[in-house]
Every structure is written in structure tokens, then in C-alpha cells.
């Protein structure tokens, strides 16, 4: 478990630095690339937790699709090389209390539901079949709700893109 802890620490440090650079760097594309680093770090953490299906999904969805579309969009509209001056929103400082609030909620949720429990040291790799049994068994209703949200987003995108 020691090796995993060290790896966790290193990856977590890289993710924190990357996340800070996302909001401080002076170039839209650079910010997006730092965000890729943060998301890749999250995938690596999932691998350390032996959740390889989730890790692969993280890479496929966030790096392969979301970030590529993000970069595609910015490059198609405006993505100048070099520093940009007016990249900061005038209400940027509101982000600090919001992120602190989110951090508090997450700490509260984790400590109240897990307390002093520790991860098993010899956790087995979670098979894909086990995950699908869970999704299409006890978690079917949340899964449907999520699908519905995605469907609404897709319809919204079509409505926005239509000319008439």
C-alpha cells in the first residue's frame, strides 16, 4: 500500500498544480491543456483504486471527447497565440468562496459516510460485468435520470443550432 500512497501523493500534487495553472495562465489553449493534465491525473488515481473501467471512461469521455471539443471550439472561434490580457472575468473572486463551499461539502460527505474506514490493501480489480450489474440493477433509476438529463441537453443543442 505504501507504493500506492506515494503514487497518490505525486499525482495529487501534479493535479493541484495543474488546477491552479488552469485559472492563472494567460492563454485559453494553455488553460485547456492544463485541464487535460488534471483530468488525466484523475484517470491515474482511478487506476490506483483498481477501478480501470472508470479510468478508461475518464480518458475516453473527458480527454478524448470533452477536451477535444473544447479545444476545437476555442480554436474555431478565438484562440490567439501568446498572452491575452482580458482573460479574467470581473467576478472571478466569487469562485473562491464557491470552491471552498464545494470542498466543505465533499469533506463532510466523505467523513460522515466513511469515517475512519480504510481502503482494503489487496482490493481486487472491479470487473466490468460487476459495474454493469450494479448500473442495470439497483442503480437503474439514477441511470435513467442521468440519461434523461443528457437527452434534454442534446435536444437543447439541436434547438440552438436550428436556423428556423
Amino acid at each position: 500500500m505504501v507504493a500506492q500512497n506515494i503514487a497518490f501523493g505525486i499525482i495529487a500534487a501534479i493535479m493541484v498544480v495543474g488546477a491552479l495553472r488552469v485559472v492563472t495562465v494567460n492563454n485559453v489553449v494553455h488553460a485547456a491543456l492544463w485541464l487535460v493534465l488534471v483530468l488525466a491525473g484523475a484517470a491515474a488515481q482511478y487506476i490506483l483504486l483498481t477501478a480501470e473501467f472508470v479510468a478508461v471512461t475518464q480518458v475516453l469521455v473527458y480527454i478524448g471527447a470533452v477536451m477535444v471539443l473544447f479545444l476545437f471550439g476555442t480554436m474555431l472561434t478565438r484562440a490567439q497565440l501568446g498572452r491575452e490580457k482580458k482573460l479574467n472575468n470581473s467576478t472571478w473572486y466569487l469562485g473562491i468562496p464557491t470552491s471552498l463551499l464545494l470542498l466543505g461539502v465533499m469533506i463532510l460527505a466523505l467523513t460522515s459516510s466513511f469515517g475512519n474506514e480504510k481502503l482494503p490493501t489487496d482490493s481486487e480489480i472491479v470487473s466490468t460485468q460487476a459495474i454493469s450489474d450494479q448500473i442495470f440493477g439497483p442503480y437503474l433509476l439514477p441511470f435513467w435520470a442521468l440519461s434523461f438529463v443528457l437527452l434534454v441537453a442534446v435536444i437543447g443543442a439541436i434547438v440552438l443550432a436550428r436556423k428556423d
Binding site: F53, V56, I63
Partner: protein
């Protein structure tokens, strides 16, 4: 079965796997460039191709690499130097990550990943990132246009590719590439097991969709809008020279080889021979000589599939951008969805 492997210490296994990975990426790339790009293309155009360096020009490849290594590593004045320099590395590393899940024999694998196919599809999409970075950081309108075209095309053709693979996964009942190989070679066609059950027969629609999507993912000719030389000079690669251009070049043909490896695992039975020939009943009975024979079988199948890719490349003219997108969204995706439905109905019925 694991006696051979477990006698080697862990660091030795890791070293062997790293070396094997380098060979599995670079050897197919070199073979493809010489056999198909130099020789087959020349023969199809009624000329001889390179003949001076070595017998039948077989040393031409080393001469080319030497030439590229000598060239200056140019950087446009207004380019974003860090992103510009790291972009080809990301494209190439995506190829090396891709080969990590391909099994070459009962023991000759790099990693026996549970969600193997899914992993392969995920890491292959990372190369788009490198292409976008290259296009943007070059400070060149042609490069940016090429990068954007590449991203649009690769996103569009990733979907039919994933959907085509789903049929195979349903039939094999596993996403592990090793299990898919075993399922094909241990299988039987209506009780006759002389050929195993290669999914080329049952998943022919999936195979065709997969190979078309591979052609588009590799940006080979009917789908080479991103590097269309008559419009965009060389697309996202325009500003690259020397070793960094070589990396893009190796990445292109190595990825062709690795995708052909994956296609042969998914549809042609991979490293295996039909198990009934030697009376094997499962993976644990397979003789260890297959660890040498397997890679050779894979190499043969890979060359056959790349031959098809190159044949199409040298035969057809380029798609227009709108035709290319329409073909992906209106033909390939519906066809592969129907294929998934038919496969799952038949899977439940039998």
C-alpha cells in the same frame, strides 16, 4: 502456463515488455513503409520505386531516417514553442499506449487488461489532442485548418469504430482481447470446429465499418482532408521538419500497424490457430511454441489488413469535407447501430 514468465524477475519482465512494445510499434511501421508505401505504390503506378540503396532498395528506409535526422529542427518565429515541440510526442505516445493491450500469444502480451478493447479505443482518441496542439501552435493558417479538419473527422469516425466493436464484444462476452482471441479459436460454426469461429464471418458488417473507420482515423487517402496537399500544403504537419516530422510519420504508419493488429484480434482470430487442430480446449492447453508462432501469425494478418488499407489509399480520390461527415453520421453510424441490434437479438436467440 505461466512457468516461463514467473521464472523471470519483475524488473526483467517489465524490461522485456518495454522492448517488445518498441519492436511491436517500430517493426510494423518500417515494414509498412517499405513494402507498401515504397514498393506497392510504385508497382501500382508502373514504376520500380527505390532501387539503389541495398537489394531492391531495401535499405532506403535507413537512408530516409538518416536524412531526417540531419535536418534542422525548425521553429516558426511566432509559434508557441513548448506546445509545438510536445505535440508529435503526444501523437507517438498514443500509438505506444495502444499496442500495450494487443496480445501476441498465450503468454506474449504486454498487459492483460480486463477492459482491453475499451482501453484501446480510449487511448487512440488521445492522438487527436496532439494533432490539435500541432495545428494551433504552428502559427500558420494552413496548419490550424488542418488540425481542425483532423479533429472534426476523428471525432466523427471514432463513434462508428466504437459501435462496430460492440458487436464483437457482445458475441465474445468479454472486452478482454485475450478472451476474444480464445472465444474465436475455441468456437465452432454450427458444430464444425475446423476453422474456429472467426468473427469476420458473423460480424462482417462490423468488420467493414471498423476498417472504414480505421482508414479515416489514420487519415489515409479517401479521408485525407486534414493533410490535403493540394489545399493545405501538409495540414497540421506543415511547419514541422527533421526529427519531429519523422515522429509524425512513424506515428502515422505505426498506428496503421497497431490498428491492423487490433482488427485482426477482433475479427480474424488474432494470434491463435483453431484450437481443434491440436486438440486444445482452452487457453491453458495452448503449447508454449505459440508464443513464437503467435507473433508471426499476427504479423501476417496485420500485413494483409494493411495491404487492404493501402490498396484503398492508392485507388480512390479524396472525399469532400461535407461528404466525409455525411458518410460517417448518416451511413456508418446507423449501419453499426443496426448491427448491434441484430447481434444482441441473435445472441439471446442462440
Amino acid at each position: 502456463m505461466y512457468a516461463l514468465l514467473s521464472s523471470i524477475p519483475y524488473w526483467g519482465q517489465t524490461l522485456l515488455r518495454l522492448l517488445g512494445g518498441a519492436v511491436a510499434v517500430l517493426l510494423p511501421a518500417g515494414t509498412i513503409v517499405y513494402l507498401f508505401l515504397f514498393k506497392m505504390m510504385s508497382f501500382m503506378q508502373s514504376r520500380l520505386g527505390p532501387m539503389e540503396a541495398g537489394p531492391y532498395g531495401s535499405m532506403q528506409l535507413f537512408a530516409e531516417v538518416g536524412k531526417w535526422l540531419q535536418k534542422e529542427d525548425l521553429l516558426p518565429e511566432r509559434a508557441d514553442s513548448f506546445v509545438f515541440k510536445i505535440a508529435p510526442l503526444i501523437v507517438l505516445s498514443s500509438t505506444f499506449l495502444l499496442v500495450a493491450v494487443v496480445p501476441f500469444g498465450p503468454d506474449a502480451w504486454f498487459t492483460n487488461f480486463e477492459a482491453g478493447v475499451f482501453y484501446a479505443l480510449a487511448v487512440s482518441s488521445v492522438s487527436v489532442l496532439g494533432i490539435l496542439m500541432a495545428g494551433w501552435s504552428s502559427a500558420n493558417k494552413y496548419s490550424l485548418l488542418g488540425g481542425l479538419r483532423a479533429a472534426g473527422q476523428l471525432i466523427a469516425y471514432e463513434l462508428p469504430m466504437i459501435l462496430a466493436v460492440v458487436g464483437v464484444v457482445i458475441q465474445a462476452g468479454s472486452m478482454n482481447l485475450q478472451n476474444i482471441v480464445v472465444a474465436q479459436n475455441a468456437g465452432s460454426i454450427f458444430g464444425w470446429n475446423g476453422l474456429g469461429n472467426p468473427y469476420l464471418l458473423t460480424q462482417f458488417v462490423g468488420f467493414v465499418v471498423f476498417m472504414i473507420a480505421v482508414q479515416a482515423e489514420l487519415t489515409q487517402t479517401p479521408f485525407d482532408m486534414p493533410i490535403a496537399e493540394s489545399e493545405l500544403v501538409s495540414g497540421y504537419m506543415t511547419e514541422y521538419s527533421g526529427f519531429r516530422f519523422l515522429m509524425f510519420f512513424i506515428g502515422e504508419f505505426a498506428t496503421a500497424g497497431v490498428f491492423a493488429f487490433i482488427a485482426s484480434v477482433l475479427f480474424l482470430g488474432g494470434w491463435g490457430v483453431p484450437f481443434s487442430w491440436f486438440g486444445w480446449s482452452g487457453i491453458n492447453d495452448v503449447d508454449s511454441w505459440m508464443n513464437v508462432g503467435g507473433p508471426l501469425i499476427m504479423l501476417t494478418k496485420m500485413l494483409g489488413l494493411v495491404f487492404i488499407i493501402m490498396w484503398v489509399r492508392f485507388s480512390y480520390p479524396r472525399f469532400r469535407e461535407d461528404q466525409l461527415q455525411r458518410f460517417a453520421w448518416k451511413v456508418l453510424i446507423p449501419v453499426s447501430l443496426v448491427n448491434i441490434m441484430a447481434t444482441s437479438v441473435l445472441k439471446v436467440a442462440f
